[in-house]
Assembly symmetry: C2
Homo-oligomer: 244 residues x 2
């Protein structure tokens, strides 16, 4: 059973304005919801179209409410809903730990890329991501989905990026098209890895803060023009991780 | 102007059966189509909903046919068509060059992952990809799209993978969960990099052919359970490329 006011609340949460107003976000899919619960995210609403087996030991005390497929269609943002939808409280960020390595994003727009980058940070042990104010919202349902639960474990801070970069005393590593080869990089104990927008890369007013320019070399005869920003982040973080 | 028989032909091409029958495939998006033309792919049909400026120097002698948005909706596989759709002949594979490094895929299902892997191969200079017969079709429109034109430059061979692996004399490197760290790997001049399915990894009957087990190490405290297969391929190919 789902009330009309709940339907109204949840459909609103597909928009940033209402996510911020209510301090909530949506997650769809059984595995994702269970992963968020395991990470300590606080559940407020939980629906499924699949009758739960009594033997199914839910990881949470809160059992999902059984709703019809038509109702799920209304509240889901997916073309083919998975049959599982939950609403969580937005976890509060802990303060940005400036003593660690930080990934900084300049205007990453694609929710899939953002989610993948959060999953990578989680994998390689980066706990803090700093984003320009125009970077895609971390609680966008597609970010949540592609982060595979990492959204509950990685802290994402939206800041005035120019100001934040300007105040840095740590080296700032930036991925650019004509930087030095990764084999030659000496990774310090602390630093920032700055990654740019899908189409334009790092904007000039931010690029001037880069102290170490990095490039991922391809084959000389390559046809592909570039690597996707999430892929480049993965390769750079792996290289960083190997040298920690 | 687009005829009904053309509409029928093109809508059919969204299915593998008709792609194989006609030996054709679809590409959508101006940049992708131009990239395929530049790579020498042979155009058979070309449509746009945008009137072409006379100053726009097309890279091909064949100009697109102007059609209505309604007609584009009919032939496009996208929810929000880009306004550009072309049909190309399926390029013929050159013979598999066994003297090179080859990427082998065991049942990769997601078209986005497959396209991304082809783009990575193109970037790092891998010319041949061998796939199990149940791997997603290389001419699936979503594979074509996410390959960003690399489909015209990387040769993809569908084979009985067990038989092919069994006949190999080269070392076979496989990405598994408990392999050796990448820092210790010595990459020979020739070899195979075997990557598995999104959910199950490399199937046991193929895994027994692996001579060198590799793993991408994450942080000890990581929350993320795994990396996506395309991301893992990117990290491994980068590491291979650095050591060539």
């Amino acid at each position: 059973m789902i009330s009309n006011s709940e339907i109204k609340l949840i459909t609103g949460l597909h928009r940033k304005k209402y996510r911020d107003l209510h301090n909530l976000f949506i997650a769809e899919g059984e595995k994702l919801i269970k992963d968020l619960l395991k990470s300590g995210a606080q559940l407020t609403h939980f629906y499924t179209t699949e009758p739960i087996q009594p033997t199914d030991s839910a990881p949470s005390a809160i059992a999902p409410v059984l709703i019809s497929e038509r109702q799920m269609q209304k509240i889901s943002g997916q073309k083919n809903p998975s049959g599982w939808l939950a609403v969580f409280k937005q976890p509060k960020n802990t303060a940005l730990d400036e003593a660690c390595w930080v990934v900084a994003l300049d205007d990453v727009q694609d929710p899939g890329n953002m989610g993948t980058i959060l999953r990578l940070c989680d994998w390689f042990g980066i706990s803090h991501v700093v984003c320009s104010l125009d970077t895609v919202d971390r609680f966008n349902p597609k970010v949540v989905q592609s982060s595979m639960g990492s959204i509950a474990r990685v802290q994402v801070h939206y800041v005035s990026l120019d100001q934040w970069l300007d105040a840095q005393t740590k080296p700032i590593f930036g991925a650019v098209l004509d930087g030095q080869s990764l084999t030659k990089v000496i990774w310090p104990k602390q630093g920032v890895l700055l990654m740019g927008n899908e189409g334009q890369g790092i904007r000039p007013q931010r690029a001037r803060y880069i102290t170490d320019h990095l490039s991922i070399s391809g084959a000389p005869s390559r046809g592909a023009e570039s690597l996707n920003v999430a892929m480049a982040t993965g390769i750079l973080l792996h290289q960083w991780h190997l040298n920690q």
